[in-house]
Amino acid sequence: MAEFLQLILSGLAAGSIYALAAVGFTLLWQASQTINFAQGEFVMLPAFFVLVGMTVLGLPLWTSIAFALVLSLIVLGLMFKKLVVEPMLPHGTLPLVIATIALGVLLKESVKEFYGATAQPFPAIFPQTVYNVAGASISLQDIGNLTVSMLAIVGLQLFLGRTRTGRCMQATAQNPNVAEILGVNVKRMVLYTFLINAALATVASVLISPIYLAKFSNGETLGLVAFIAAIVGGFNQIRGALVGGLLIGVIDNLSAVYISAQYRSAMPLILLIIIILVRPQGLLGTSEGRSV
């Protein structure tokens, strides 16, 4: 029982980080029909920005994180929108998808080329303390990761629901034509979405890299997991992406111990197949009727 609880908690902690990436994924889809197959690389990259800040510029950890956030907002937010999405979107969703796949490869190979192919140790944000609670080992890092991720997602939900700017972003995502005739600055709202995605990716990167180490290929798994989490949850819902992320984190952990460590990475895919067969609109999703 103690082991089970321990697995659940560390599953939720990992899952909440997947959820950050998955939430960004659904936001981009809603606001600008962008299916970002470079999302995994978006989570991989900020960790290297942090490392550059620390090793090349000699900045302290938190200053480096701030530096990485700013760089991410510029590169993964602004430049991604201006240089990739805006030129490609008029040609349709599929060319844009292919462009994001290419972008993912470019980011991955660039990091490998310019920083290195080996996994880099990444400083921990939280102390590596482990508490023993009723026989279960509870790591402070897991608690910290879960807390920060949940705060980020709840904060985002509050922003979207409780502020006028947030509601303008919702209007832009749900009905851009109406947003435009009401005078909402649609372009700016879409830009905010890209910036929020970049910020979420940075948070995910800083939380996950102490566990997985910073490596150029980290995006492969992360991108897949974020994609699956978004689909499992319902693709057009933030809450869905959150549930999907947490679910995959927990299933991943439980299956590694109770089923087979070898089949561990197949579990999210099996989950994806089951969901698509049984509930194609996702756990919390509503079937999407797009008007022509």
């Binding site: 006028r164 509601r167 919702q170 749900q174 009905n175 034509n177 109406v178």
Partner: protein, 240 residues
């Protein structure tokens, strides 16, 4: 109040308006009628800054507003209720109404106006916390009209308000338009249900192939056999 001078324009390279000209006076209701593809809705888009205008001029109270963006037109007191459903489905009725005043710097006034329009449409007050998608088609249309009134518009462009509404609700929407006109709002309307619309209008405008073919008092148009002919699939010139 609103004047179009030889306006030509369309989507991309396709031209829909071919030199449309007309003028409508303040505090009046004008209905635009014409066959499908005549460019009725396109006139609205041209006025509201949603169309590429190739040539010609649009004047609002004597001022050139050709090619102004929607946000600027809203600031000048123009509001547009397009055809079909135009709600933000997952936001509440209250927040949909709020979006009608999103461009205003004075949000205290917007709050007060939301209260006032909910006074006019009590159904909206009852459902203020419901999501827009949970309203019926008629209720959504009422919400759109209410939302368009939030900033006290001077000119209201309303496209096919009767589509999907029961006859009772159509009369309700028309009564609202009459009341607004009496309060000094200028209304330009496109309506499939031409007879009913002309019956409450001051003026009527017949558009064909993107050009103004007739423009007269509404009752004159109602009595004109050529108008009937037009709706039986003929052209204006075929009659007479």
């Amino acid at each position: 109040m609103l004047e179009l001078k030889n306006v030509a324009g369309g989507y991309g390279r396709i031209t829909i308006l071919n030199g449309t000209s007309f003028e409508i006076p303040k505090a009046s209701i004008t209905t635009v009628i014409g066959p499908n593809g005549a460019g009725k809705s396109t006139v609205f888009k041209a006025v509201f800054g949603l169309l590429n205008i190739h040539s010609g001029q649009i004047l609002l109270e004597g001022e050139d507003v050709t090619g102004r963006k929607p946000a600027e037109m809203i600031a000048r007191g123009v509001t547009y209720v397009p055809q079909g459903r135009n709600v933000v489905p997952q936001l509440s009725v209250f927040h949909n109404l709020e979006l009608g005043g999103i461009t205003s710097k004075d949000q205290a006034t917007v709050r007060r106006r939301i209260d006032e329009v909910m006074e006019q449409f009590p159904m909206l007050r009852e459902r203020r916390n419901q999501k827009a998608i949970e309203l019926s088609g008629g209720q959504q249309k009422q919400m759109e009209v209410a939302r368009a009134l939030l900033l006290d518009p001077k000119l209201m462009l309303i496209d096919e308000p009767s589509i999907g509404l029961s006859p009772n609700l159509v009369q309700e929407v028309f009564q609202t338009l009459i009341r607004l006109r009496d309060q000094g709002v200028t209304i330009l309307m496109v309506e499939q249900n031409a007879k009913a619309a002309l019956a409450i209008s001051d003026f009527g405008l017949v558009l064909e192939l993107g050009q103004t073919r007739m423009h007269d008092k509404a009752d004159e148009l109602l009595a004109d056999p050529r108008v009937g002919q037009l709706f039986l699939g003929g052209h204006i010139d075929d009659a007479a």
